[in-house]
């Protein structure tokens, strides 16, 4: 690989180690939901940089537009209205949704096509559509419901964390454009520190439940959120403790090599049965009986 920043750490459907001599800094995007104003500049920047134009959809009566991630909308703002117990206390919660770039990516684990999903040494999980076969197993593996299969070409698409920009030392397009600085980018270490600083600030202002969303169940993520109410991430549509489904782990884990061995065992067992026990032929005795009957 020409660029150290594009060194591959993990590759789908590949059972041998990937190049791992060179060390790269792990990157992270930090999304501070408490500073997001829901302007959707990130959505526009994403479309512009990646040259993707979604179909014009229809408004569903909310600010959600488009209403969901698609193969051509890799990030969308999701709006939540939270009514609190005291009257006139309405919270308008906004989250920029998109790929979380898990350290332990369920999509990559589930993918059967070698090299269709890679994880760079810097932590970015990227889909290589030229190797994608369109089976949708990545959707089956993802704990965050992120990948989408294109209706045009049946390939899977999602946020690349602007791997092409990051490779040459630039920040992702959404980070570059965010007018309030709610989206930040840097090393995972730096971003974690920055988040802690901000969380301290929020707590000082009376938001006792403020916290960082970097779920350990998927090994941590390379997209992290600062949440005002980290005790309940589900109120803005994030799973409370995401993990790769146990079904996916069984499906893609130890069971397959074992089943392969078992199948090979049956085939080889048959061969060795034949060469040790010999064929099961009609006995001479019975053949003679039939011949005798015919002679009569």
């Amino acid at each position: 690989m020409a660029l150290q920043s594009l060194d591959i750490k993990q590759r789908s459907a590949t059972t041998t180690p990937s190049p791992s001599e060179r060390q790269t800094v792990e990157v992270a995007k930090l999304i501070d939901t408490t500073r997001c104003i829901g302007c959707k500049a990130c959505q526009v920047a994403c479309m512009e940089w990646n040259d993707i134009r979604d179909e014009i959809g229809s408004v569903d009566g909310t600010y959600n537009n488009p209403t969901d991630l698609t193969s051509a909308s890799w990030t969308v703002m999701r709006f939540y209205e939270k009514e609190n117990s005291s009257p006139f206390d309405l919270e308008w919660l906004i989250r920029k949704d998109g790929c979380m770039h898990c350290a332990d990516p369920g999509c990559l684990k589930a993918c059967p096509a070698p090299g269709a999903i890679v994880q760079y040494a810097n932590g970015i999980v990227d889909f290589h559509q030229e190797n994608c076969i369109g089976c949708g197993y990545c959707i089956t593996g993802c704990p965050f419901n992120v990948p989408r299969i294109s209706k045009k070409d049946s390939k899977a698409y999602k946020c690349t964390l602007c791997s092409d920009r990051v490779a040459v030392g630039m920040e992702p397009a959404c980070v570059k454009t965010c007018p309030t600085g709610a989206i930040m980018f840097g090393s995972k270490e730096q971003m974690t520190e920055q988040a802690e600083h901000r969380i301290g600030e929020l707590k000082g202002r009376g938001h006792g439940k403020a916290g960082l969303y970097d779920p350990a169940g998927v090994g941590g993520t390379h997209v992290m959120y600062v949440l005002k109410d980290a005790d309940d991430p589900t109120q803005i549509g994030l799973p409370a403790s995401p993990t790769i489904s146990a079904l996916v782990s069984v499906w893609k884990g130890f069971a397959k090599p074992l089943a392969t061995l078992a199948m090979a065992g049956v085939a080889l067992g048959s061969l060795f049965h034949y060469v040790t026990k010999g064929p099961n032929e009609v006995s001479k005795e019975i053949e003679d009986e039939i011949e005798k009957e015919d002679a009569q």
């Binding site: 059972t15 059967p112 076969i133 369109g134 949708g136 959707i139 079904l247 048959s270 039939i290």
Partner: protein, 206 residues
Amino acid sequence: MIRDPKDLKRYEPKERANHWVVGISFILLALSGLAFFHPAFFPLTQLFGGPTWARIIHPYLGVLMAVSFLALYFRFAHLNKMTPADKEWLGKVGQMVDGDDHNMPEQGKYNGGQKVMFWAMAICMLLMAVSGLLIWRAWFGFDITLVRLGAVVHAAAGAVMIGLIFVHVYAAIWVKGTIRAMWYGTVTRAWAKQHHRGWYRQMTGK
């Protein structure tokens, strides 16, 4: 080759054709399915015009196999009812595998092992068809938990089925004079008398 006119008819042409439609679709499904089962088998996709074609074709072959197996099921299910003699046969199968079939009880058209194979295949076929529909994203979009369950069941039932088919094919190779029944429909009287004496009596009246 001139065959003995006294050979016994075991399968009708339409039964044999039906069996081979299932057989051919099974072989193609196993090869393309294994390619997605484990990376070691991924190169098998080249037999189908590349990995994307393998992904596209596989489920349609599955529909073909499911439908043709269903026809086979209705042809043969009534011949595969388990009897006490079958259970006795299964109890002694170890001796037969070891090379001695003198103590085996008399069997009708199918022995206990063949009947177990028939029902095991029927169950696997049902599991494969249902779980296959659950994970067929080109046409369906089921709830994610169902899709995940479908993926596990499909892989597990597929592996079991490949194992069963190895046994099915090997049994036909091992017992000499068997395969011709599925090629051109007849077996020798001696073969029938040795392996399926009840059926031999029924066919010859002896």
